[in-house]
Symmetry: D3
Subunit: 281 residues, 6 copies
């Protein structure tokens, strides 16, 4: 199926030298890539399309401009919205509207996790609030030396509600550190992020981070897409289930996946010491 990747707030490119890799960039550099509603709705569309596009095998997500991956929620744009409106409703009715709004916002972030292809996020500069929510829904996190992270939400009077509090403790195995940064909203940098396992590696600057992400994406894209997509799915399922349920689900999943032509193709090219090619998926 031919995909149309013309979006307003996101650019989607397919670098010539990286077959099967899509490079998505948040494209609102003049506002430090801060998000408002139309943006997260569009982002869901982007990742839903990439998820089913058979010519895509791995994805890099970065932010345009030197200043920020994303400064988070565009508070000014949000103020005219859900929080202020409908002020004549009683608190229970207002709660219904707020809940619907939050659940849809969450669903747009979850699109990154739900995407069947691995997503590597390359962060630099200000990476605040929503940047953490978004990156924990991705699979692998890289950053540049100049990055400034913060779970910023308590500083605007609210508990982070679009993913960080549910996903960060399952991404980083240091619950005390998660609590500290979530309760204090303090800034932390690349070195600390690496030490606690929030990012996989640190790079010189924005360009080097994106280059490293593309290189890793290219490596992953060279593998069997049946194997790669199955691996992402089973890892995410296992995070949320007991080991026994994880094993059982894996057995059912692989009962179809092992019938792929990719296994003999991979074995044969291994013996012949050449690079295998795999059909699209």
């Amino acid at each position: 199926m031919a995909q149309n990747y013309s979006f307003k707030y996101f650019t989607v490119q397919f670098p010539a030298e990286n077959p099967y890799v899509a490079h998505v960039e948040i494209n609102r550099a003049d506002k430090m890539n801060a998000f408002f509603e139309a943006m997260w709705l569009e982002m869901r569309q982007v990742f839903n399309q990439l998820s089913e596009d058979p010519s895509v095998r791995a994805i890099v997500l970065s932010g345009a401009g030197e200043k920020a991956f994303t400064a988070g929620l565009d508070v000014k744009a949000a103020q005219g919205g859900i929080l202020s409106s409908d002020s004549n409703l009683d608190p229970a009715r207002k709660a219904v509207h707020l809940r619907r709004h939050v659940l849809e916002f969450q669903d747009c972030i979850t699109a990154v996790e739900r995407c069947e292809k691995p997503v590597i996020v390359a962060m630099h500069g200000f990476s605040l609030g929503l940047a953490i929510d978004l990156s924990t829904a991705a699979d692998i996190r890289l950053c540049s030396k100049d990055v400034r992270f913060a779970v910023k939400e308590v500083d605007i009077g609210l508990a982070a509600d679009i993913g960080t509090l549910s996903r960060l403790p399952k991404v980083v195995g240091n619950f005390g550190w998660v609590k500290e940064v979530a309760l204090s909203a303090r800034i932390f940098g690349a070195e600390e992020a690496l030490r606690v396992g929030f990012v996989n590696s640190v790079h010189e600057n924005r360009a080097a981070t994106i280059a490293a992400a593309l290189k890793l994406a290219t490596l992953i894209a060279s593998k069997s897409p049946v194997a790669v997509q199955g691996t992402k799915e089973i890892l995410n399922w296992s995070r949320d289930h007991s080991v026994q349920d994880g094993l059982r689900y894996t057995g059912v999943w692989n009962s179809a996946a092992l019938q792929t032509g990719d296994v003999p193709a991979a074995l044969l090219s291994g013996l012949q010491k050449r690079t295998p090619t795999f059909e699209k998926l």
Copy 2:
């Protein structure tokens, strides 16, 4: 509501320079703060009261005296108790008494986790057995250089049963290390605790550790209590549920919490570059 904080084994103080912060200290220094039943029952009372006291926003827990945060269970006091008594009961009836005893003991430790305000524990010197159970029920762990930790229970012939085995693997993302220290009962120090993520930071001595804990508590207490208490609650819920259940619970929780006056207060003071004040909770 006016709270009465006069206890026998715990001191509760409200440092003048740290508004909204309660400093709880285990107060049995002559016995290395070792616990017996009356103490853990009282500790539950302390944290239940602090949980609902609107003038409290963050809590520091430390141990009196230079020698120990707590040396753990006061084995001598325990010997006359549950383990020896009722020797003419059959093993099944004895099991009922033991189970009730363990579940109530667990519940006293869980009072720290259930407390709606963040709890920062400042440990020094001997911090053995029950010290680990207790600190994993807290939110953030700090320690001094001289600390000596051990999951001591196997050395007295039992599996730790008041929290360590259930919580430590969810606090520290290194299951092999957890198994090693729990199965060997070996001592470990501040540096190792920091490396594996058991503590957030290490300080020069007992005084410096408490000072750092109070400073962090003060920072957290300066944030919106609606945001802080919601953050603690959602993080603990998410630890025990799938990401989808975590997101849904968050949406329901915030449908009320987002209606707080703290959000506009925080936004406004952000624009005006001044410190916001928030109502009690």
Copy 3:
């Protein structure tokens, strides 16, 4: 009960100087200890027997020969098997056969986790694919400096399906790192394994790693077996359940376990400053 430990692909020894410790070695050095079906079926037998043998209190698992702990699945032996056979079956019937095969293979690996005695795995040289599945089912992982780890499965076109994807994220608290090594199949060494918490410690060579494992096993074997086996069981249960379910299960477990004679024995020998002895289990 007297146990018979005569196996074809595994040696089981009881070192004279390490009472209560069993040393299991994968014994197919000429093929880099690569596994085929008869081996994993036998391995299940080995660990089922050790689990119930009252003269065993801790187990070390290593691989014979200097080259490899295990190079993983013996692909050549596997090729004539499940993947190629029954080619005239429809994909749904083939899936049933594959699923049964995977579930039984998983069960053989799970025998290591199910074993009631702690298992310390000592790895060196090539430790690929199945080596990771196997070691995550053990309790504690040690390795030598020369070790070469890889979650190799994507390189042969499949998602790892006998344990790595379900257990590795619960062993190592760095979900991004798990995804990277599982999606890229890249080699990683001892230092990286230590840093992310995959192994507990690194040793000079194969012999030193095994020696360290035996020493740790001997230490654990000197503790009360009631305490040690209860600790392993409760830690594994807690990994897969909420904290509340973990605490409740612990209370029920210990209602019998606390009635052991090991508690007074341990307390008394503690007062008398001598080494306690415990009855077999």
Copy 4:
């Protein structure tokens, strides 16, 4: 917000005498209301819109024509589709396409469960296969005397995969009966459906069933929408969670919902013995 309810395969009416009730009818009587892909995609749209339409408080779902509520899947239309296409793909790649297809189909059925307003389904005549999937996603099931139910899927060689097997055992507390009808695909009638609790009541014919459904919907629509929508949500959540998790979620939900003006309105009209009116939601 003004809603546009012009659909192709479904009619949506608002009966004048039943304020706040929407009557949805499957509108393909000439084909016994058999479903094909465009229909279930449209049905999702219908229920998504009704879910957020503040002028709707309860929904009745029925089928046009005297012959059938729905005869199930339109097998002829399906044959040209997912099952036959892409025959040159390997079984693993085909599995990916099939899984995506099934998951989207399931999501369209789940739209009925996800709809925030109660859905009462009125069934008559042939109600086969998909009719069971669909009705178990609704809240209340009524039927006419002439109804002919069957979990028909095994008769076309497949396990029911769009909801029956996951929901029917949680709707009907007779697991043996569920297994019998699912494994044998046998027809069962109104009387048996009533006896096992699959339907709430049986009515003379199609018209009487729809009339009874509209009457019940009108009764429910006369209650506080805050109370009604909360009740549906909490009942569905509780089905999938432990009692403790159900209670906790309820507490969080009601912390906003109890602040509604509907509680004083209901209490006052109770005292004044008149019918309360509630604001839209």
Copy 5:
């Protein structure tokens, strides 16, 4: 331990002819046994005491007066309380107070479920709202012919939040019926309650219902208390867990319970065809 059963709103009697049976009665007949806060707090005390009193083996709960088991919440008494107070708080802060209130109320009802001895509830006359919450926390429900049940909460503008919505679907295997009575708040009688399995049996009048409950309690009290209390606990645990988790928990529980002297006592008296006696618990 000697228990003191002098309460204000509940009478606790030990009928001479029914050894080991406690009869608890709600004692506010002039107000149709409607509940206000002091009553549910006291009820928790009653059941906490009975739970640990070794001379109690089974409990009957009924309501005084001919008119009602309980008419539910005393709305007049509640109006001056939590819902109206603190009106100057913002909705987020008010939500905190409401949630704390609901959770404590729930906990008082849960005391009946948590009670280690079986509780048989005997209902008659008006049994509305809280009567349903309360009775689903009990083990066995009996009623008289004149009973009038209703899940009344939607009629006062709220979703039932102290247990009915979490427990009723797990007590009665007819989810459609549960939804109907919860969404419509309609009255239902003894015959319907029996048909759907909400009550175990129906009796002529209040006196006959209580007599039948006492008879059943006496029968249960004649059995081994180790067996009876274990059976209640395991059934409640199993309701909230998978079959595998239920089996495992049972195995751990019985590893202590099977060591009771009650098993040989029961076997011996079986052979000797006489009634066994069992020690207290």
Copy 6:
């Protein structure tokens, strides 16, 4: 694969007129088919073999002799065993032996549930204790008019621990009835069993019950084995998981199963109005 069905305590027959149906009979009529250890170990073997035998599509389980399906545990045989032995062990060590024993016993019963082919149990006469454990692990339960059921375990001083307490509440949707029969150990008959949904149907005598079971098994065996085995598996999985997890698992399962040749075979024979034939599985 050719199967050898020569057993000591069970007969396995393949009735000529019922292709693909296996009839298993408990064969110890002189002792009312009471079970001892060698029998349940053998029963696991029987069902493990039937599970993988491609010529078997449905199974009927009955008891030899007119008196009893099974009178339950052979208490006399059990007395010399696990409960009395090892009397010099401390209660904690004894608990380990008891737990291992119970878990293996449970696993033998679970073999019936784990068996991939549907199991219909035909009960008559005394069907006590273990009869209930066993039959709840089966898929469908039939009985004769003369059947006498009882959850007998409390009468010998123990909580039923090999399946009844975990499975019966999930088989029968009447939790109060389950508690009553489990706590009182009272006898109940065919009519009551039918009313609460414990059995699917009641028949004149033992012969008629077995005939009905064989007829139902033959009907099920005439369906696609891919569809039938998938239906059993998904129903059992769904019982233990949330609806969302059930749907997801179903989607993964069917991604392979829908590729069977049985779907076109069933569709074609449906159009041609003839009986389809399906390949073995």
